[in-house]
């Protein structure tokens, strides 16, 4: 186990470097001269040259990348082109909001998804199962940005129960969290159901029945534990979709989180802010993946034998 954790930690290093490389290369992919873009349109030739010199844009690519990583290690993500503030500071104010949103969303994903999935699996092909699965199918098919607008229209515009947008009170959290968590909940519910149905057909469940165990003991003790193992991985992947989804949901509900920061920065071509935002979101995801893998391994010791 310790070896596994150490190995897994070691794997993070190349992945993290890879992520920084990709983010760094984004700058290089920009058609045209990055110095001109960074200087902003209409800047004088001297300003452009000065910027090129300052940012080391005339050095070879690998040197630039080395410097970029070195800066990152010192907590320097560059400065916003728009307000000249350090990118890190901007992220520091935005990130907590996104984390709060993500926390409530994943809670919805896990709790709703598991409950619906288990109920469906206990009574497969029943009316309740069918209705849950139809809802789940809708959940994975509705675009989150549209679902957000729909919810906003119903609960804020028509019923006026909840605020339209912003991030000031607990009431503000409800709609964005549901919007963001709904897709994940649908996926988790579907996965839990199919995993449970799969497990119920296993030989050891037949053994449990042959022993005369009570129905609920078979479900709770023998089936559920095994069925949840693949669900762990799915939940882990949902974190990723969720972090990506903040971009859309924060835009719909005008939440000033990391996602909205990235979108705004792309619109204004504020490349260093985009880089910083994408990098931070990805690194968070890398760490979450690590945690999920370790959890998976703890629950499933049979892995890797044979």
């Amino acid at each position: 186990m310790t070896l596994f954790i150490l190995k897994r930690l070691a794997q993070i290093i190349p992945v993290t470097l890879g992520v920084t490389l990709v983010v760094f290369l984004i700058m290089q992919m920009i058609p045209g001269d990055p110095a001109i873009i960074l200087a902003g349109e209409g800047a004088s030739t001297e300003t452009v040259e000065e910027l090129r010199e300052n940012l080391g844009l005339n050095k070879p690519l690998y040197v630039q990348y080395g410097e970029y990583v070195n800066d990152l290690l010192h907590g320097d993500m560059g400065h916003s082109l728009k307000n000249k503030q350090p990118v890190l500071e901007e992220i520091a104010t935005r990130l907590p909001i996104t984390i709060e949103l993500a926390f409530y969303s994943i809670l919805i994903t896990i709790v709703l998804g598991l409950i619906a999935g288990i109920i469906s699996a206990i009574r497969p092909y029943s009316i309740i199962d069918a209705s849950f699965m139809v809802v789940a199918l809708l959940g994975i098919s509705l675009p989150s940005f549209w679902l957000g607008i729909l919810l906003m229209y119903v609960f804020s515009v028509q019923l006026q129960w909840l605020p339209v947008a912003g991030w000031d009170s607990a009431k503000h959290i409800i709609l964005p969290a549901i919007t963001l968590g709904a897709g994940g909940a649908a996926i988790v519910a579907r996965m839990t159901r199919s995993s449970m149905l799969d497990v119920v057909n296993q030989d050891y469940i037949r053994t449990a029945k042959a022993k005369g165990l009570k129905g609920y003991v078979i479900i709770a003790k023998h089936a559920l534990r095994n069925a949840l193992i693949p669900v762990i991985t799915v939940v882990g992947l949902q974190f990723g979709s969720l972090l990506g989804g903040t971009v859309l949901v924060e835009s719909v509900f005008a939440v000033n989180g990391l996602g909205r920061m990235i979108v705004d920065a792309i619109r204004t071509r504020d490349i260093p802010v985009v880089q910083g935002g994408v990098l931070v979101a990805s690194l968070i995801f890398v760490v979450i993946n690590l945690a999920v893998d370790i959890m998976y391994r703890l629950f499933n010791k049979r892995i890797d034998l044979n």
């Binding site: 890879g18 199918l137 098919s141 971009v247 979108v263």
Partner: protein, 300 residues
Amino acid sequence: MEKITLTVDHSILTNARKAARKKNRARFMNKMKKNKAAVAGGIIIALYLLIFLIGPLLAPYDPYDVQLEQKLQAPSLEHLMGTDDKGRDIFSRILYGSRLSIGVGFSAVLFGGTIGTILGLIAGYYGKWIDSIISRILDIMLAFPGILLALAIVSALGPSLINVTIAVGFFSIPMFARIVRGSTMEVKKLEYIDAVKTLGANDFTILAKHVFPNILSPIIVQASMRLATAILSAAGLSFLGLGAQPPSPEWGAMLSSGRDFIFTAPYMAMFPGIMISILVLGFNLFGDGLRDALDPRMKN
């Protein structure tokens, strides 16, 4: 050994061949027919493809024709889905937009699916260091959460529908590659692969004739599911203003401009949203059904 002379009526063989083919097709269709979800999904997709092909011919108005005096009209017989803030007919715009929204999805999946499949086949079949390298690259691509990688690519290439296609296709590469790699590794272990190896077949023959046809099912299922995601992502990027630019009738972009009028003209956002949702639903249903029909493990 004695030479055996064999006389066989060749019409028997030809007939047997025809019958075999027919039987096989019938078997697959039978399975699909029993699967109502797949049929429903298939019908939805077929309808959309019809709109894709002939939609613009049916459009009653020019989708770009600004008629400010007609703006924000509620749905009526004249304008089935109403008009937008510039007085353009939403129904006509939806029909024209189908080419963009559906086209982007298909192109992106074709792009990502081809590259992903090739990478997955190579990694899964050869294993060892080739697999390590490809897998590490895929790991890095998968380390970007959700559509953030596509977003980052668009931020560099600049907002446009083509760039969105490239970006969405790019981020579906690892999804295909992973599935294909896993399936290839499974099929590679089967004895019939060893048998053709023993017959002296080369790697290309083995991959093309013996591995690929047998992993086609998971690839098709994945493609159907990926189409759903790709359409959602592309619409999402356009919604954020990073894809199709106004006045393009791309559905995500239409939805985006409709959101500002949610108090006064909710139908502006409703119709494009419904169109996207039903299309995505169709692909999800189809993919689900296909998986049940093709995947032997899912059989009861």
